[in-house]
Symmetry: C2
Subunit: 319 residues, 2 copies
């Protein structure tokens, strides 16, 4: 067993941090560590928290950490800040607010950045969540700026997904457009001291009438004012209620199994995409790419030939 | 040549619409059509318009269409509304505003939806833009709800990318977090009749000092009030200025060539991901997936073996 794996399983915080660095930089030991810690995962509660920018997700997460810690639970936070594919940099202003948890060994916070695309962000986040699980976090909060596909994709691993909305600004309609209404198990109307709460609540309920969701679980709407720590007990009660619902209905097992199945596809796609990028960039196909760049060949034909040249077609075509 | 390709090149609007339907549904004729029309593309100006939800992108596009039509230019619009991966449905409320262009044969509007993930949305949008180009649109506006990676990815094909901001609400900071500041060639402060315009302008300028951009082109900031059709001339002047800059500096050719090169990678990744999904879902690996779902095997090992079984390793490993 890799030394980092041992350290994670022994509850060494620096071991866990090191593992996530390996994941983000795709170091060679990444695969080994993830394989080794896998049998020790599956215990943590995975809670997704998403919503449009400015909905107050970070401060809600902040207050929720305090609430869970007061109950003696250890908390992991994987915060997804999509960074630029161009500079590789990120502004992590919101994270500063969480600094007061930094001295608490029962809290493990990690901001996930990304370099390049190809699903790297969601892949890395899922793996980081697994590290937090193996490390011993009772609850892992997965916070995303939720409108893009990668953000939706990250939420696939959550047991319970919370969508955070704020009154005013047509937030609920935007959320619906972006397709996050359907993944919500629970709605939070944050900043519930602002005007327009009743209107937003009505809108959400109306949309819930339109949107497909599990017949036995209609997502409840909880009002919070995270700056005043209001509504957090009720929020967690509803999370617990959802957990009980999943467990009793058998959906918990079903979802977890489905997530694992999907994860195989996810990893395969990611690894293949990475391999493809390396191959294309590293020169083997440079001539072909130049022909396309000069418009002497169309990108569709070039791509098709590359795909065919890579696969054992007989094996691949046979279903 | 496929009948649909002929119709696109003859300027038949229903042919173009049919082609995009083939793209969105991934019909077998998709590849042939795209190959055939490719030599007739590259002429249209591709303008990306992005910004956070509520920034007024759709109404800006609406006014811009009117402006360009008044100049005798034909306009294509590819509007990206990420729809739910769960229901496959989309609410296209904003599109309703554009209905008055529906009777104008010089305007071709298409809302791009997506089913599933795997980069399908951005792939489909790029192909739809190519259809509009071949069909004869002088300008193609690519409108995205811009924060996720897929949205950034779509913008890779634009010659000029416009980032739309609105005063108030910390919009510019959020935009920066989401990494769209770096892809902007041009900023629009829309709803410039609202308070806070000066503050936002200052913020944008300060961020431009921080962010890497081409030394010879500092993105200008244009103020518009799209509901009153104000500032649209200046916006288009700046787009033209950027176009001249790209042409004169040689960057136009360079960008277009790079986009074509990247597109090959993009198509390869997309096709491989699709093939992988089909294979995994269709049963060949059902047993393995079940082992993972039951936690008897870890997803990393399962994925690694699947990847290896698919590639001709000797060929693939040799760089």
């Amino acid at each position: 067993m890799h030394d980092i794996s041992k350290r994670i399983l022994a509850g060494d915080v620096r071991g866990a941090a090191r593992a996530i660095t390996c994941i983000e930089n795709d170091y060679p030991e990444r695969a080994q560590i993830l394989r080794e810690i896998f049998p020790h995962t599956g215990r943590a509660r995975l809670i997704g928290i998403t919503g449009s920018p400015g909905a107050g997700k970070s401060s809600l997460v902040d207050v929720l950490i305090g609430f869970l810690r007061a109950q003696g639970l250890t908390v992991g936070v994987a915060a997804v800040d999509p960074t630029s594919p161009f500079t590789g940099g990120a502004l992590l202003g919101d994270r500063v607010r969480m600094q007061h948890h930094a001295v608490d060994s029962g809290v493990f916070i990690r901001s996930m950045g990304t370099r390049g695309s190809l699903g790297g962000l969601s892949r890395n986040t899922k793996d980081a969540v697994r590290v937090m699980d193996a490390y011993g976090c009772d609850v892992v909060l997965i916070e995303t700026v939720g409108v893009g596909q990668s953000e939706l994709d990250v939420m696939n691993i959550a047991d319970t997904t919370i969508v955070v909305l704020t009154p005013g600004g047509g937030d609920s309609v935007q959320a619906f457009k972006a397709g996050i209404m359907e993944i919500a198990d629970l709605f939070v109307i944050n900043k519930a001291d602002l005007p327009g709460v009743g209107k937003l609540e009505t809108e959400v309920e109306q949309m819930l009438d339109l949107v497909k969701h599990d017949a036995a679980w209609r997502p409840p709407v909880v009002k919070t004012i995270s700056t005043q720590k209001q509504g957090i007990d009720e929020l967690w009660q509803q999370v617990e209620k959802h957990h009980s619902f999943l467990k009793e209905s058998g959906l918990w097992e079903e979802r977890r199994s489905r997530h694992l199945r999907e994860e195989v596809l996810d990893i395969v796609s990611y690894q293949v995409a990475q391999a493809i990028q390396q191959r294309l960039v590293s020169g083997s196909y440079a001539e072909r790419l130049e022909a396309v760049a000069a418009r002497r060949e169309d990108p569709y034909s070039a791509a098709a030939e590359i795909v065919h040249s890579w696969f054992d077609l007989a094996e691949f075509r046979a279903k």
